[in-house]
């Protein structure tokens, strides 16, 4: 039985989820005008007459919006439609200047594809139904004036991709993982900043409940959920709400709901009023977008290495564990840092693994403490490589290295300088250490006695003594070897 099933006193329920993800296409200018797409400009400063739907203004599509969407489609293993058509979706809203949104209903630019997500150590394919291009609306500001709303059209006409999944998602966790994975893919592609705080990625969640093995139930659509955590919360709330209704013998109403993040609940957005009738029809100002195979192939050839490919390569060529590889590829900058450090450190057995370890533990910890991104790291990749080299060639011990690392972070000095200045060089001189071991053994005859009587664990006592005497600088490996040898004499 699937762990996603929800069990109640009346039996088992399964949730069926489909997502419609709206994400801002990364471009300099808008979908149909030459106005900028920068975030948070002065009100109406990034607005052309086209964006304000002034009489007689006409849309001219931005080539980059087409390219970015095709690239995204290719990365989602999707069919690229060589002919796509912009339609008008007609409705009135104060921040929708044209009285219609230009979108693609009947012939979207990207057709079926899929995205693989890792869930409980297995790979699950989530089907992509389509991706279409559409315009964003403007923004209504309600909190500046007491009885009026202010309309700012800076966002009006910004290009969005709407990525629509098949109803393949079966839990809130899967939905959240899908968004995480998609966002990562978009970052790698550079086709969207997918920044939820700035509202450049938001999702509509379609959700229904049914008994396993029976047809899907009636779904509700939760609009515009704008954080991964909220998606999880909204789904959890909705599962309980719908089960509650169904178990009371009531119906789930097909409707649009909003997620109230403060209360953690969803509530109905449109009342009983008649369903919207958007009167879609092909935009007569825009001819069909016709792409040729060469154009698509060119974009395919230009795709960067994507997260799953990178993960596989890191595991295969650097011997990283699946976990380490996953952690390193889970944002766009870390792989660059990691690979730069590996390159600087040179090819040695275990170097890459050691670097991965340092990056995911020590480096991530200090970055997090200071809220820095890895490309703002106070220890450049080359310096980390040098530190790792010092550990590997036995110049310093791992324990010393942690101290050196922190010094590097605060002072910005290279590892070698810190090691020299602080006299942290590891003692690997065998005769020196042999002499020291001799002294320790002679000073503790009773412990030697017990060790020889079979208490092997007492080796640690001698190691500790030697470390104490050398201020921790003794090479622990050599110390071990010498002591074992001498104590068995």
């Amino acid at each position: 039985m699937s762990k996603n099933y929800v069990k109640t006193s009346t039996g088992t329920w399964e949730v069926v989820i489909g997502l419609e993800v709206h994400t801002q296409i990364k471009t300099n200018s808008k979908l149909f005008s030459g106005a900028a797409t920068t975030f948070a400009g002065e009100p109406n400063s990034q607005v052309s007459f086209v964006d304000a739907a002034m009489p007689g203004m006409l849309p001219v599509p931005n080539k980059a919006c087409i390219e970015q969407t095709v690239k995204t489609g290719l990365a989602l293993n999707a069919l690229i439609n060589l002919v796509s058509v912009f339609d008008r979706k007609n409705y009135f809203y104060p921040d929708l200047p044209q009285g219609y949104q230009i979108s693609q209903l009947y012939h979207p630019i990207v057709g079926p594809g899929y995205l693989e997500i890792d869930i409980d150590d297995t790979v699950k394919k989530i089907g992509i139904e389509r991706i279409h291009i559409e315009q964003d609306a403007g923004k209504s500001v309600h909190d500046v004036m007491p009885s009026s709303s202010l309309i700012d059209l800076n966002r009006s006409g910004i290009g969005l991709m709407e990525i629509v999944t098949q109803p393949d998602i079966r839990s809130g966790e899967e939905a959240m993982e899908f968004i995480r994975k998609l966002r990562l893919l978009l970052w790698y592609l550079g086709t969207s900043d997918a920044n939820m705080e700035e509202g450049s990625l938001r999702a509509d969640v379609n959700i229904s409940m049914h008994r396993p093995g029976t047809p899907f139930g009636t779904r509700a659509e939760i609009k515009n959920v704008n954080s991964i955590r909220f998606i999880g919360q909204a789904i959890e709330y909705e599962i309980n709400r719908q089960i509650g209704l169904l178990e009371e013998g009531e119906q789930v109403v097909q409707e649009t709901r909003l997620f109230d993040a403060a209360k953690g609940v969803t509530r109905s957005m449109r009342g009983k009023e008649d369903a919207q009738d958007y009167r879609y029809f092909p935009d007569p100002d825009l001819l069909p977008v016709i792409l040729d195979e060469g154009f698509v192939q060119g974009l395919k050839d230009s795709l960067p290495e994507l997260p799953d490919q990178k993960k596989k390569r890191f595991m295969e060529s650097y011997g990283l564990s699946k976990y380490d590889a996953s952690v390193i590829i889970s944002d766009i900058r870390t792989p660059t840092y990691f690979e730069s450090a590996v390159k600087n450190a040179g090819e040695k057995e275990g170097t890459a693994k050691l670097i991965a370890n340092w990056v995911t533990t020590e480096l991530f910890r200090v970055l997090k403490e200071e809220s820095l991104e890895i490309d703002q790291s106070k220890i450049p990749a080359a310096s980390l490589a040098e530190l790792v080299n010092l550990i590997q060639d036995g110049t310093i011990s791992g324990r010393t290295a942690k101290e050196v690392f922190l010094d590097m972070w605060t002072t910005g000095k290279p590892a070698k300088i810190i090691v020299e200045e602080k006299g942290l060089l590891q003692i690997s001189n065998t005769s020196e250490l042999e002499q020291l071991a001799e002294n320790v053994i002679q000073e503790n005859p009773d412990v030697v006695q017990k060790y020889k009587a079979g208490k092997d664990k007492l080796l640690g006592f001698f190691v500790g003594k030697m470390m104490q005497l050398t201020g921790g600088k003794a090479n622990p490996k050599i110390v071990n070897e010498i002591l074992v040898k001498k104590l068995s004499e």
Binding site: P55, L58, R88, P94, Q98, G99, Y280, D285
Partner: protein, 489 residues
Amino acid sequence: MTDLTRLDYASIRKGLTSKAFTTKEVVQSYINKMDSTRPLNCYITECTDKALKDAAASDDRIQNNEARPLEGLPLAIKDNYCTKGILTTNGSKILSNFIPPYESTITHRLKGAGAIALGKTNLDEFAMGSSTITSYYDPTINPWKKEGSDRDLTPGGSSGGSSASVAARSSLIALGSDTGGSIRQPASFCGVVGLKPTYGLCSRFGIIAFASSLDQAGPITRTVRDSAIVLKQMAGHDPHDFTSVKYPVPDYEAALTGNIKGLKVGIPKEYRMEGLDFEVSEWWEKTSQWLSEAGAEIIDVSLPHTRYALPVYYIVAPAEASSNLARYDGVRYGYRAEGAESIEEIYEMTRTQGFGDEVKRRILLGTYVLSAGKYEDYYLRAQRVRQKVTDDFTEVFKSVDVLLTPTTPTTAFELGENTADPLAMYMQDLFTVATNLAGIPGISVPVTTSREGLPIGMQLIGPRFGEEVILRTADVIERVAGFKLKEEF
């Protein structure tokens, strides 16, 4: 001195270059004519002060031998072309206070070529009509009257202000727009030349949209040569209009060779339909004889889907209009209803008060044919029949060079006639509308006056980008017909 308003532009241009008179004198005589013909209500806005200033600048240019192709041309502009800093109403209350901060491509080009704007001409509200009576600014009156009658006649529409001003000599050339016949029908009613170019030849940027896939800009002139001269400056690709075609603009004036020997002229039998005035039919026959005598071959042809053109038009045009006119919502520009307390009231009251009955009817009709359940049966079916209508033309132009038809079934009717029955008014577009559906060019040229003393026009239809051949043929008709505007105009 001769009345300068009696010269065509070809003669004005000669006179200006030879310094027989000045632009200022030309413009002043037009201003005088604007004053004396004001009861015809050709203009909504007059820009005479600016025109005189421009005239002075034009004279400077001529002095410096820097005359441009349309230097000193007294131009009237239909009030659906946006003109920077000049009120642009589109004949509607809803834009009764709208001053565009931008200029349409066509007016920009013509002004740049030396044309001088006299003012903005009256039209049916939003160019929807065939009589110029639906204008918020009262009807325009045709300078022609039936012999022995002083009853006011319509100049036709929607470019009625433009055609009446050219006939009444209160402008030399006027800009019109043609969605279903709105240049050719009023030109025919007023005894002047009206040309609707190939869809995509002239930019639509800055012309207030009625039905985007049908609208085309075109000139209304007193002679075919003037149409050829001004078209050359209007035509040509505009990067701001996605439906503007990259087509090398020929020298249309050079096409007026007077030679049509061997030209194949098609007479479509389907245009001999019920409702065609007997006298118009006679002159259609006579015109074809002229062409035959001039060496053309007259061929009977068939356009089997002609009768469906008008019903297709009355689905397609309102559908596009219902969406194009959604932007007039009282939020960003134009009229806003007083006393509206909510956004819904702003929409409904503004649009209810701001649009006239005919516009409302067409918006509702268009909304209906796009609405759920109707889209397939009406809109999509109409688009399919539109293709069949277009295919008829494609087929027929394999065997003929031009088609000759009447422009309108009747001569000008009285103001207030044909208003009770919408179909009667729609029949005005019977012969013109198919070319808009197919996107091909048509020109109306006056051939005579009827026994009642009203102008009769004939239409020449050409294949796509066939402007040269229809202008050449129209020029031949014009020479044979020797049609004259009334002396007293």
